[in-house]
């Protein structure tokens, strides 16, 4: 039978009908009824559970919002860092108006206009001590040549723009090293950085 016509196909299907007139067993029908009852009860309870879960979520979000709103404002002025002292008690001079090696964060460089709130506090400039350096006074002051005998001590001289700058430090074995910086070969960015730092110090009222 390679080519079934319509009637023979139907006869073939009916002869092999999977359903032989049996009916569902009684216990199966009873089990389905019981499960339908249970499912109906569950379907009635489910919306209440969803509502309860939604209420808990809303309360949590509101509580989080209140907590975040009640936190102290972040626009307070940071406390200035105390001036560090050297380990052997040697006095560290006041920082010059122009720090030599302090990096300048770009976000604090621009002064704020009056009436604008400062969103992020200006981070405190890192102490040169944190970099293992102690910056002491320029040579024209009284203690300009006083350096700590141990550690990397750097003396930077603030000189007029036309004069050479000197950086001196003592190596761990006591060798005293002096660098002379020729202003003609000093990149202009160093001067700009120094100018920015001076401006920033005036704005922050510290150092």
């Amino acid at each position: 039978m390679t080519d079934l016509d319509h009637d023979s196909l139907r006869a073939r299907l009916r002869a092999g009908d999977p359903y032989q007139g049996e009916s569902m067993q009684g216990p199966d029908a009873a089990r389905i009824r019981a499960r339908m009852r249970a499912a109906a009860v569950d379907a009635q309870v489910r919306p209440n559970r969803i509502l309860a879960a939604a209420a808990v979520a809303i309360v949590t979000v509101v509580a989080l919002g209140v907590w975040v709103g009640s936190r102290p404002s972040t626009t307070e002025e940071p406390t200035p860092l105390p001036l560090p002292a050297t380990s052997d008690g040697a006095a560290v001079a006041e920082l010059p108006a122009e720090p030599v090696s302090a990096p300048q964060p770009p976000s604090v460089a621009a002064p704020t206009r009056p009436g604008l709130a400062v969103v992020h506090p200006a981070p405190a400039l890192p102490s040169p001590r944190e970099h293992g350096l102690v910056v002491i006074a320029p040579p024209d002051t009284a203690d300009a040549t006083q350096v700590a005998p141990t550690g990397n001590t750097v003396a930077a001289t603030e000189t007029p723009r036309t004069e050479a700058r000197h950086v001196q430090f003592i190596a761990p074995r006591g060798t005293r090293i002096v660098w002379t910086l020729d202003p003609d070969f000093e990149p202009s960015t160093v001067r700009n950085d120094a100018r920015q730092a001076r401006h920033q110090q005036g704005a922050n009222g510290k150092w």
Binding site: L9, D28, I32, M36, Q44
Partner: protein, 176 residues
């Protein structure tokens, strides 16, 4: 409090109505489920799943004879979901066929297995159309109303299904 009692009474009324529908149609749905079931499906489970879906549905239960159509559609969609899931899992078509007892001396069992296996290879909606038309003698309009499709679609499925069955059953005969 009043609202909860109202919803509770509505839920009880829905459960009662579904129980009435179960009493009225479970035999007919069981016959359809036996014909629609493929290997691994149990007709009783299909009927149970159909009524559990009906319980969980948010739609109101249609009145009168429309309820029967609704339940048939739920059953066919259930079979379709299972068919798609098997197809997605990459189950081979040959595995969908029930195992043929080649040693059975009874030709009736062999013929039933062949028809069952051939029907199992049709997509669920097409299988439903063929079963309702060829085995339950429903007319095209009735099938269209039951399955929620147009008469043209029913005729197309019927034509395609018959052709597939011809090929499958002819192949079975050649293998024999």
């Amino acid at each position: 409090m009043r609202r909860s009692s109202v919803s509770e009474s509505a839920s009880v009324a829905r459960a009662d109505r579904l129980e009435q529908l179960f009493e009225a149609y479970h035999g007919r749905l069981y016959a359809l489920a036996v014909r629609m079931a493929v290997a691994g499906d149990d007709a009783t489970d299909l009927v149970q799943e159909t009524f559990l879906r009906a319980v969980g549905s948010r739609r109101p239960i249609p009145p009168g004879d429309a309820a029967e159509r609704w339940l048939v559609r739920v059953l066919v969609n259930l079979c379709r979901d299972r068919y798609r899931r098997r197809k997605y899992r990459g189950q081979r078509r040959a595995e969908l066929r029930p195992r043929r007892e080649t040693n059975s001396p009874e030709a009736a069992i062999t013929a039933r297995d062949a028809v069952h296996g051939a029907l199992a290879q049709l997509p669920a909606r097409r299988r439903a159309v063929v079963v309702l038309r060829e085995l339950e003698d429903r007319d095209t309009a009735d099938i269209a109303a039951l399955l929620g499709m147009t008469a043209v679609t029913v005729r197309w499925h019927l034509s395609q299904g018959r052709q597939q069955l011809r090929d499958l059953l002819s192949g079975e005969d050649e293998d024999r």
